[in-house]
Each structure stands twice: as C-alpha cells, then as structure tokens.
C-alpha cells in the first residue's frame, strides 16, 4: 500500500539511515525495534517529511514521490491522509482536547464545524476521554494527553498512523491505558508503524517486526518468527538486555 525505497539520511558525516526500504501493507501493524541511536525516529520522521531525506522515494496511492524533492503541496496532501503520534504528545497548548482533535478537520480540511465536533467527540470517546472534551493539555495527565494525541491522529480517518515511542515519556502506571487504545486500533485494522520499546506490544499486537541497527534494517519478519527465532546475535543481545 505504501512503499518506501532506499531512504538515506546523513547528519554532518553521520550516516543515520543507510538505504532503508520498507513496504507497508494495508492493515499491517509494524513494530520498529532497535537500540538507541539506530535511526528509528529519523526513519519515521523522514517518512512523514518532518525530516528531509537525502535520497529515497515513496509510493502512495499508486503515485511515486521523491522524498528529497517532494513539493509542499504534495507533502500537505499526503499528510492529510496520514497521522503522526509523538513521543512528547505535542498537543496544541492553547486548545482544549476537543479543539486539538478538530483543528485539522476545520482548518486544514475546511470541514463544517458541527460535523468536525461530531467526529472529534467520537474520536475522543474511542480513546476513553468522553469526560475530558473541554480540558486543556495542562489539565490532563500524560496518559490522557497521549490519548488526545492518538485521537487527533485518528480523527481524519488516515490510511496510516506513525507512532514514535508513544509510551516512553509516560510514568509506568500510565503506559497501560495508551497501549490498550493502540491495541484496539490494531484490532480495527488500522495500518500502523510503531517505534516502541514495549516488547509486549511488539509480540502480541504487531504482525511484523522491523529491527534496526546502525541505520539499517537488519530484519523484517512476522513478529512470531522474530521472537521465536531471533537468529542474529545482535538481536538476541538486544532482547536479552531488555528482559534482564
């Protein structure tokens, strides 16, 4: 459905992504694993143009785009069909939970306000925040803020949602509520690419694991296979350090 080919990115002499390719099928839940600094965030950001790749292409809706030279217009058009959830939520601090969710509908997509509010409420209900519509981010817990972040990505009916470590800024007791929401989305068949350190999510929810190291994809296999038969020593070591 969405194909990324040969993404490369260099930060002053540091080759952070080395010719990375990823093919995402409809309904895939891809867990992206790998040690710190291996390029997971950079890959995700290049995929949604938050970072400009030096080389690489993207095929989306049957059309091929150059990740380096893509026009602002095409960027905006593709972003309207994708969602992004940030590690640090990045909610609009001057907007309530509901306004955070409807902003992209009303302003970017020119949807009539009543219709947007209707949709926004449905999205917030889905992440369990039906009693927090009018709360500002500063009045919400980290877990609630992240669920608003997910609702904001979800409300536009995107073809894919990218998550960058959605639970790693959260206190341990708040991680569960966010993972639960993501689990539900996966069940609904929403296509997701999730950078995560949550092995339970990778094992139980995702259908594919992409393991990155040093700017390369070392492995891209069904998650069952990944955990049952890691193969590579580097992956074994990685899993061992996590579970110890």
């Amino acid at each position: 459905m969405i194909d990324y080919e040969n993404i490369s990115k260099v930060y002053n002499d540091n080759r952070v992504l080395k010719d990375v390719s990823l093919h995402i099928n409809k309904g895939d839940v891809v867990a992206v694993l790998g040690p710190s600094g291996s390029g997971k965030t950079t890959m995700l950001r290049c995929m949604n143009f938050l970072e400009k790749a030096d080389v690489g292409t993207m095929t989306f809706d049957g059309k091929k785009y150059d990740l380096h030279g893509i026009s602002k217009k095409n960027m905006a058009a593709i972003r309207k069909k994708t969602g992004f959830v940030f590690q640090r939520y990045n909610l609009f601090l001057n907007k309530t939970a509901l306004q955070n969710v409807t902003e992209g509908l009303v302003i970017a997509r020119k949807m009539p306000k009543e219709q947007a509010v209707e949709k926004g409420k449905v999205a917030l209900d889905k992440v369990g925040l039906s009693d927090r519509y009018d709360f500002y981010p500063s009045q919400l817990s980290g877990g609630q803020q992240q669920r608003v972040g997910i609702a904001r990505a979800l409300v536009t009916d995107p073809e894919i949602i990218y998550f960058d470590e959605p639970t790693s800024a959260l206190d341990p007791e708040l991680i569960g509520e966010v993972l639960l929401v993501m689990r539900r989305l996966a069940k609904e068949g929403i296509t997701m690419v999730v950078v995560t350190h949550e092995m339970s999510f990778a094992r139980d929810v995702s259908n594919r694991v992409v393991f990155m190291e040093d700017g390369e994809i070392l492995k891209d296999v069904p998650s069952k296979e990944f955990f049952e038969n890691p193969g590579d020593d580097r992956i074994r070591n990685f899993l061992r350090t996590l579970t110890s």
Binding site: N48, F49, L50, M75, A76, R79, K80, T82, G83, F84, F86, R88, N90, L91, F92, L93, N94, K95, E103, G104, I107, A108, R109, F135, Y136, P137, S138, Q139, R152, A153, T156
Partner: protein
C-alpha cells in the same frame, strides 16, 4: 500652601489634563498600534528566516535600538526638511514612536514566538495545516499571551516617552506644563503636578493590564 499657588495648581489642572487627553493619549495609542503591526511583521520575517528581508530587519532593529529616541525625533522633524521632507509635528512624532515601538517589541514578539515548542508546529503540519495556518491558529495566540506583560510594559513606557515630543512642538501634556511654568514661575509645583497626571495614566494602564492578564488566564493554568 499659599492661596496663590493653590489657585495656579487648580487652574492649570485642566489645562494640563486636556492636552493629555487630546494629544498624549492619542499619540500613545496610534503609535503603539502602528508599532505593534511593525513589530509583528518584523518578528515573523525573522522567525520565517526570509533571506534578505531578515537582514534588513536586523539592521532596522540595530539602528533604532542603538540611537536615542530624542535624536530620532530631531532627525525626522528638524533634519528631514533639509532634504525637502516637511512633516507636521504630530505625524512626525507618530512616525518616530511607531518605529521605535516596532523595533523594541519585534524582539519581544520574536522571543515569544520562538518560545512556542517546535513540536506543536510539527504536529500542525502532521494534521495537514499549512505554515500560515499554524502561525495564526497555534503559534501567535500563545506568543501574544506570553508577550502580554512585556508589551504592556512597553505601552506604559511609551506614555511617558511621548513627553519627548514637546521638543518637536507637539502640544502634549509636558509642553502645556512648560508654558504655564513660563507664565507663573512655579516649576516645582507644576512639574510635580504633571508628573502626578502621568502617574495616574500609568496606574490605570497597570490596573487594566492585570485585569486582562487574569481574563486571559493561561489555557487552564492558573
């Protein structure tokens, strides 16, 4: 206090206050409004890093902040006629004060805009918004809230700075006082009186500021 002095003070009160209401306040409001527009444009050009224009803005801020306001007034009112540019006292004062407010407050606005986290801007892009939409809906509202106290400061400062316009024959409060002093030879009492009126103006503004700040709240925070 002698009766003569008391009479002078009561007689002059209105004679000072009226130019205050007719000149000082309009001069302040008009200059501040124009200055804010300049400040906003200059700040946005710098934040958006528009090449060429950005350097021009830095140059403008550098010149204006590095030279005395009084000298700027003299250059525009007494200097420009030499080049054939004659400007009436009031518009000359408005021009100089607006340009000055624009330079100082562009720095305030720039800092306030840059204090809005980059993550919110990225989130705006990710929900499909354009840069101008993100500015208008997300960044500027927060920047204005942050900049409100320092901008109020600059407004209060401007009220007092307008007294400099006396030097270019704008008949505002201070010049009105000077004229009465010239007639009555009571500088001490009369200059204290005009100081008191400035103080009242500024006190009112300070009160308005604190009421506004409470009203604005802080997006749920108190």
């Amino acid at each position: 206090m002698t009766e003569r002095l008391w009479n002078i003070l009561t007689d002059s009160f209105l004679k000072i206050l009226v130019p205050g209401l007719q000149m000082t306040i309009p001069l302040t409001i008009i200059s501040f409004a124009i200055g804010m527009v300049i400040a906003l444009v200059v700040a946005m050009i710098q934040v958006a890093e528009i090449p060429g224009l950005k350097q021009l803005c830095r140059f403008y801020v550098w010149i204006i902040r590095g030279t005395p306001l009084l000298v700027q007034l003299y250059v525009v009112f007494y200097g420009l006629p030499r080049l054939g540019v004659l400007i009436d006292p009031f518009p000359a004062a408005v021009i100089v004060f607006s340009i000055s407010v624009g330079a100082y407050d562009s720095e305030t606005m720039r800092a306030a805009i840059q204090s809005v986290s980059k993550g919110q801007i990225e989130a705006g892009y990710c929900v499909g918004m354009s840069y101008p939409q993100i500015m208008r809906r997300i960044v500027l509202p927060q920047a204005f809230r942050t900049a409100f106290p320092p901008l109020s400061n600059s407004l209060i400062g401007l009220v007092k700075d307008t007294s400099l316009a006396a030097n270019i024959t704008v008949l505002e409060m201070f010049m009105a006082t000077q004229r009465i002093v010239a007639r009555t030879y009571e500088p001490f009492a009369l200059y204290l009186e005009v100081a008191l009126i400035y103080l009242i103006f500024c006190t009112v503004l300070t009160k308005v500021q604190s009421v506004c700040e409470k009203r604005l709240g802080k997006y749920g925070k108190r």
